[in-house]
Amino acid sequence: MQVQFLSPVPPPPPEPQEEDGDVSMVDGESVGINPVTPGQAIATDTQGHGTYLEGSTVHSSVAGMIDRVNKLISVRPLKTRYNAEIGDIVVGRITEVAQSRWKVDVNGRQDAVLMLSSVNLPGGVQRRKSESDQLQMRTFFSEGDLLVGEVQSFYADGATALQTRTLKYCKLRNGTFTCVPPALVQRCKSHFHTLPCGVDVILGLNGYIWVSKTTEKLPKGVEGRAAEEVEAEMAYSNKNEPITDHERETIARVSNCIAALARRFMYINDSIIVYAYEASLGFAVSDLLQLQVIRAITQEASAKAAMS
């Protein structure tokens, strides 16, 4: 395999600021595109995230943009670890199997917890978890497995609890994993997408993205069993389905497109991925991580996104 090292790209030179155009200074507080940096005094309002109070003035504690909701002032850093919110769809990796729970790496400040009681086990949805289930937890999820789940709640110390009680939440297979800065994935109605090029994409809000082969719905009731039961069993399968070379290439192309978008620090959603994919068709998959190609396809994608 050919390994290529890309030299770091300097950010584009900042454009000269328009005179009083989009930057207005109100008692030492900057609004508009002017970012704030740590230690900068912002205002005398209520302090929110990313700020601290000294005397009666609110100071910024991170570099980023000011978010203002009435009197509550907070600063949002551009790059940060994932901050979970209840209901978020996340992709995670099992790091540890513990007493009736799994520890899951979700790119957060601590590993999330997936309790044995908050997963669906094969053989009936509403089933009590017995001791034998505890003993064979590794047959459901073992270390290194990827899964998609939902943030259920928080513990007192800020740790996240996940759940996978719906059939759409399961162990991940037939695909590849990509990691992007969490700030680039925006909350939207659905995070499960089937792209027209024939791949499934799961955009985890924690910046973990899963690109996989499209799976067809299972035929109802194989060998007299209920479809749900079969699916619940499939949810813990470790075996990949047969994937053709063409499908592999498409998966690699989509995942490289996502990496290219992340490298240019652009928002990632299903439509921009499709545009980037279409723009990338003129290049070989292995060339997609070259700097000029990244620039070409992301520019074309953002131009298309701006048109629609």
Binding site: G50, L78, K79
Partner: protein
């Protein structure tokens, strides 16, 4: 050039009669400082800094799950600093094992950043700072602290303020700022100062040699003046980078 290499009483003349130093700087002049953030894609935050010929790379990971559970603190995050000098960083290639000097530099890093980072927001987590000197030409501690500050801000970690570090020393009772390797390895004293530029609070003050108490104030003042100048440069780097990223996101 011949002036620079004049041998005076069997040692190098570090300060010429015109008041110029061995690399042509004035006594209160900093070396050229350039910096860049977001240089590593895998790290949560990273920075690269060049202060003259001293080059330093900093990477920040975290806050993340604590590696060794016994170190875990229930009310705040732990900070872990690892300082390393590349074998090719000095004039003579040396393979360095982890020695006391490196460990003490790492400890200095921890005590410098612990009061500045708001660790109480991240209980049961760990923040790792990896510092690598790629080229050594004096003032590696100051370069490391400045690079670590940039990397921490790049990682989006909440901090009270920047931490800016600068060295100062004195040659023939004349205070000089930002010592290079030649000045550092002469017998002149070297003082490293790290301050919080917004409040002017001193965060770290380290000196391993002897300095007359009468000279101390002027040397310390010169070092904190240097810190103020470094702050202006670092702040501009962060602002430019943040603006650049915002523009890319808006596209």
């Amino acid at each position: 050039m011949s002036r620079i290499f004049t041998i005076n009483m069997s040692r190098l003349e570090l300060l010429s009669p015109e008041g110029l130093r061995i690399d042509g700087r004035r006594a209160n002049e900093l070396r050229k400082l350039t910096a860049k953030t977001g240089v590593l894609s895998q790290a949560d935050g990273s920075a690269y800094i060049e202060q003259g010929n001293t080059k330093c790379l900093a990477a920040v990971y975290g806050p993340r799950e604590v590696r060794h559970k016994m170190n875990m603190l229930h009310d705040r995050a732990i900070i872990n600093v690892e300082f390393n000098m590349a074998p090719f960083s000095t004039a003579e290639r040396k393979k360095r094992s982890k020695n006391d000097k490196q460990v003490s530099k790492s400890v200095l890093g921890i005590i410098t950043f612990e009061p500045v980072i708001k660790t109480t927001l991240y209980p049961r987590s760990q923040i790792d700072i990896y510092l690598q000197i790629l080229q050594h030409d004096g003032g590696d501690l100051q370069a490391c602290i400045n690079a670590a500050t940039l990397a921490l801000i790049d990682a989006g970690l909440p901090m009270i303020d920047y931490v800016c570090a600068c060295t100062a020393g004195s040659i023939d009772k004349e205070p000089i700022v930002d010592l290079n390797h030649v000045e550092e390895s002469s017998d002149s004293p070297e003082l490293t100062v790290a301050i919080l530029p917004k409040t002017g609070k001193v965060n770290l003050l380290q000196m391993e040699s002897r300095l007359h108490v009468d000279n101390f104030e002027s040397v310390a003042n010169l070092a904190s003046e240097g810190c103020e100048n470094i702050y202006q440069i670092l702040d501009q780097v962060i602002r430019d980078r943040t603006k650049g990223l915002l523009k890319q996101m808006k596209q």
